[in-house]
Symmetry: C2
Subunit: 223 residues, 2 copies
Amino acid sequence: MPHTVIEVSRSTLKRLPLYLHVLEDLHRQKQEYISCTALALKFDFGSIQVRKDLEVTGAEGTAKIGFRISDLIRNIKTFLGWHNVQDAFLVGAGNLGKALLGYRDFDLYGLNIVAVFDKDPAKIGTRIFDKEVMPVEKMPGLAARMHVNIGIVAVSAIAAQEVVNVMVASGIRAVWNFAPAPLEIPQGIILENARLTQSLAVLSNKLKCLLEEETKESVPCPM
Amino acid sequence: MPHTVIEVSRSTLKRLPLYLHVLEDLHRQKQEYISCTALALKFDFGSIQVRKDLEVTGAEGTAKIGFRISDLIRNIKTFLGWHNVQDAFLVGAGNLGKALLGYRDFDLYGLNIVAVFDKDPAKIGTRIFDKEVMPVEKMPGLAARMHVNIGIVAVSAIAAQEVVNVMVASGIRAVWNFAPAPLEIPQGIILENARLTQSLAVLSNKLKCLLEEETKESVPCPM
DNA sequence: TAGATTGTTAATCGATTAACAATC
DNA sequence: TAGATTGTTAATCGATTAACAATC
């Protein structure tokens, strides 16, 4: 049987964790089934979209009843690869790095930060959430030994490219970048930007529009 | 002259800060002009898209030369509303809250965190980056007095809805949410989710695909 | 002038939405 | 049975890409 390529849009991929959060919540409340219609009510998009999205994970529902919540959770997690927890290296022991280390739920999302690195000699050797901060030079050796695939960049924009270069040289396959800088990576390495300023840009523009509308008695904002 | 509505896609809005980062970098290096072609090289999308995006900000270039960098920076910032810095309240003095407070560049992006709130009595009264943590109950009074429009939610998923309710009651117009929970807000209030798990989902799925490709000798990943 | 680049209009592509038969 | 919901195919909508004239 030929394994067909499942084409998934970035948009769908981004909505799946939203469903997951709600589903896990309902699961804790001992609810067993949910329909797309009911699930869609939690969001500002329709039930057809929810059904389409769930379809890609291979979830199957029953007419009139809906989907078994435990099945959906399992399907989404498997689809995202969150069942096999991946080890990750974090570079940057600043405020953001600390926040990421302190986020206890990452293991639920398939991520396990196993080591922290920094360039600052003052930080090296200190412990953050029970993890020792190590010099960046130690990354290549450790990456190879521990078979780590994911690297998290939590340094300044200026330092980011250099960090990524070390990561790539260390054999890291996927980079999660929190620095507000465009990074250059070789073909075959995955780069995902978690840029806060993108989200802030959307917020700012909408707010600007809203405030202008009020003061200037101008045209309505497209919201 | 009739003020026409400028329809801007969310995608364009999200790319604008990317351009801005690069442009500010070039500006620091005293470069004066740049063409769309040159700017596009920094990203994994084409020059036509860059030109289209810049168009919405009202930027004007000259053939053969390109765009004046200082003009572009001004146009983008104005378009996003980042020239008029907005005051914001931050709720949640945990690790993420601290990281956000410590991010010194927010004022460049039109955001100025003026106060921090928390529910935890142990945190109230302490100082983080020179800002005193106050009880959430004080928010409504302060919001009205200080005319604060933006509220930043940096609390757990369970506490998030409650926090937003207080924000809305306080007269907050735009909510920037970092909690992994779908929030209900009344019409007319802006909600923007900065969810890390969305970004992580994309990364995880790509990595899963990459790793499966290697082991199973299966079909290539759509990257 | 020649060639690169802008500005704008048209074509393509993909994602969202709608429609409807099948099913429990 | 009737009605709600799934699963799937078709239509619409919007964003990206291409094409090309205008311009410096």
